[in-house]
């Protein structure tokens, strides 16, 4: 283990520079947040991830944000265990009928001001699962959506860029 630690120390951090905030996301948020209550986020964003029916592909890439290469916590972004601690719900998947109630309850349990980020093509409009008897559709069919991140699944950099846009916009609004 000492070898592992000393090599890690000598080689320096693996963490890469951050991507720029997603310009499309910035524009979408600017529209959304007009007239909204001033956010008091500072540079801190607590995220509750909710899989509302995804294939797990999006979860894998969201997970990657926590690895040393993306190290999302350096931006003050962290994933929390309870919606009651969250500023943001990061929602994936086409919302299934079996998850719609759980998603809505999670949203209700999140204190305001709060944002919902629909992540991945399925979360936008149901993706390739749209039209099924078991699927309600995109996330906005169940809870209001503030930001959309495209991709199947979106790359970790794209998710990060979207979240940074949220952070910048929220900061500007304080």
């Amino acid at each position: 283990m000492l070898r592992l630690l000393s090599r890690a120390l000598l080689k320096g951090p693996l963490t890469e520079a951050a991507p720029a905030a997603d310009p499309e996301g910035l524009a979408e948020l600017a529209r959304k947040l007009q007239g909204a209550a001033a956010a008091r986020l500072g540079r801190s964003l607590a995220i509750r991830e909710v899989d509302a029916g995804s294939c797990n592909g999006c979860e894998l890439e969201i997970h990657a944000l926590n690895n040393p290469i993306y190290d999302v916590e350096r931006f003050g972004i962290r994933f929390v265990a309870s919606p009651r601690h969250a500023d943001v719900l990061l929602v994936t998947g086409p919302v299934t009928h079996n998850m719609a109630v759980a998603l809505e309850r999670t949203w209700r349990a999140t204190p305001g001001p709060k944002w919902v980020v629909a992540t991945g093509d399925c979360a936008l409009d149901g993706g390739c699962f749209a039209g099924s008897y078991a699927v309600v559709g995109g996330v906005d069919k169940v809870v209001p959506v503030d930001l959309r991140i495209k991709g199947c699944p979106p790359r970790p950099r794209d998710i990060l860029a979207g979240l940074l846009a949220l952070l910048e916009t929220a900061e500007g609004k304080r």
Partner: protein, 501 residues
């Protein structure tokens, strides 16, 4: 055992089974009600026939069986116009949830089934059955001082949704009951009637971590139905993708197991290595999870020649790194204390459920589809199938490490032997039925498909290995402390989406 026939196919002949037309590569038999009953009896009397899958379609049920002694697969079908069939769950407990799902999806009634509760249908679908509308009845737990801990469906981590109900006596789990189905998307229904290419996209999204394995199983089933084989170069590229997927998932899960026993150092290293594997996959095939790269007929795109040296370098680095991670894992008492003898699932139970992957191979069941039901190019490649007997979290963790090493060897062999030539062939439009078994990182993926004459998917069935592993997690957690559930769960890492479909 009736008929005294020990091997599956001669039993079926004795039981009056008739060969159904055009089913490849393994035969499909149709039986009458008496034949199906004899099958249920025979299954109760032998352990060497594994129930791979049990699925339905309107007015028909199918069982896929594996004769483990002869490595022979057969599909057995029963027409049931009255939507009733004799249950197999009395003989094979793995059939319990499969039968419940068949009732939810096709109103097929398993006569004699012990558990008739709804499973995938939570009473929320516009087209759901009446039986699912009543409040769900959890299994009763009786005893002094027991308390119930409900968890889910939204979990604390970044994971898929499902509901776990623990009955605990103090710290000790007396019973875990799972309730799944939350991410049921109706994949079988969506696939029916679609062109093959569209259905293949859905197959890639049955379980995102097994995009390659499910795509490959679907593709091979389609190719079998049409009586074709993908070109040689496609076989090797498919194997390259499948092994990259295996390495990425095993690295991620091994790290997560260590994280769940409060040893984040290995988790951090594994996370970085997993990222390197995904980037290598991205560079080679243009998608980090390699979704939609394996398609019926071959592969959708060739490897970027510039990416091959990067993969070789990664293999070399990982060959050095894996033993280092293993030695840290092995020498830390704080890890060993939590993983050894934790979450034990017995070899007997694993055999009864025919559980595959690291769950099976960590408890003495040596089945690996690449070896036992070989498909190209694995018949030409050298690799070992690591097996351990202990059945605990530690055994499953070691199987993953050993399999990473085997996969690294396979990746090298594939790159060395990659033949020139076309990467795909165009598929004829013809009717037929086919099945396939493919070894994903989690275990064997079974796929079955029926094509119509216009080249559309009439019906498809993707069966994730999780179906046969989820029930064993309930057994593994018993008598462990509640705090060890996360690491037990991670050591299984069953797919919710792959199970819920």
């Amino acid at each position: 055992m009736p008929g005294q026939a020990r091997d599956l196919r001669s039993f079926l002949t004795v039981a009056g089974a008739r060969l159904a037309a055009a089913h490849r590569p393994w035969p499909r038999f149709t039986v009458d009600l008496a034949g199906w009953r004899r099958l249920a009896e025979a299954l109760a009397g032998t352990e060497t026939w594994a129930l791979l899958d049990l699925w339905g379609e309107p007015e028909q049920v199918h069982a896929a069986l594996l004769d483990e002694a002869a490595n022979a697969v057969a599909v057995v079908s029963l027409a049931c116009p009255d939507r009733h069939f004799p249950a197999l769950s009395g003989a094979r407990p793995a059939a319990v949830r499969l039968e419940r799902a068949m009732r939810d999806l096709f109103a097929l009634e398993a006569d004699g089934a012990a558990d008739k509760r709804a499973w995938l249908d939570h009473g929320k679908w516009p087209v759901g059955g009446e039986h699912a509308k009543a409040p769900y009845e959890y299994l009763p737990v009786e005893g002094e001082g027991l308390h119930v801990i409900p968890v889910g469906p939204v979990h604390a981590g970044i994971i898929e949704p499902g509901y776990f109900r623990f009955a605990a006596s103090g710290e000790t789990v007396v019973r875990l009951e799972e309730r799944l189905g939350y991410v049921h998307k109706g994949i079988e229904g969506l696939m029916a009637g679609r062109p093959i290419a569209e259905a293949a996209k859905l197959a890639a999204r049955v379980s995102g971590d097994s995009a390659v394995a499910h795509s490959l199983a679907f593709a091979r089933a389609v190719e079998a139905a049409l009586g074709t084989e993908a070109p040689a170069r496609a076989h090797y590229l498919r194997a390259l993708m499948a092994e990259l997927e295996r390495v990425a998932n095993h690295l991620g899960d091994f790290g997560a197991i260590c994280n769940d026993v409060s040893f984040p150092l290995i988790h951090a290293h594994c996370g970085a290595w997993r990222e390197r594997v995904l980037r290598a996959a991205d560079a080679a095939f243009g998608h980090r999870l390699m979704m939609d790269r394996v398609v019926p007929g071959g592969v959708a795109r060739d490897i970027d020649p510039a990416a091959a040296p990067g993969i070789r370098a990664l293999v070399l680095d990982l060959r050095h790194e894996v033993p280092r991670l293993a030695s840290v894992y092995e020498e830390k008492a704080s890890i060993q204390d939590r993983t050894v003898a934790t979450g034990v699932v017995s070899p007997a139970l694993v055999r009864r459920f025919a559980a595959g992957g690291f769950v099976g191979r960590g408890a003495g069941r040596a089945f690996d589809a690449r070896r036992n039901a070989p498909y190209p190019p694995y018949d030409k490649l050298a690799f070992d199938v690591p097996v351990l007997a202990e059945g605990d979290v530690d055994a499953r963790a070691w199987i993953r490490l050993r399999e990473i090493e085997q996969s690294l060897g396979l990746i090298g062999q594939v790159l060395d032997a990659l033949p020139e030539g076309p990467i795909a062939l165009s598929l004829p439009a013809a009717a037929g039925e086919g099945a396939a078994l493919v070894e994903g990182f989690r275990g064997e993926v079974f796929a079955w498909v029926r094509l119509d004459a216009e080249g559309r998917v009439a019906r498809a069935r993707p069966r994730d290995p999780s179906w046969l592993q989820w029930p064993l997690l309930e057994a593994a957690v018993r008598d462990n402390i509640v705090a060890d559930f996360p690491v037990c769960n991670k050591s299984f890492n069953c797919s919710y989406s792959g199970h819920d479909l």
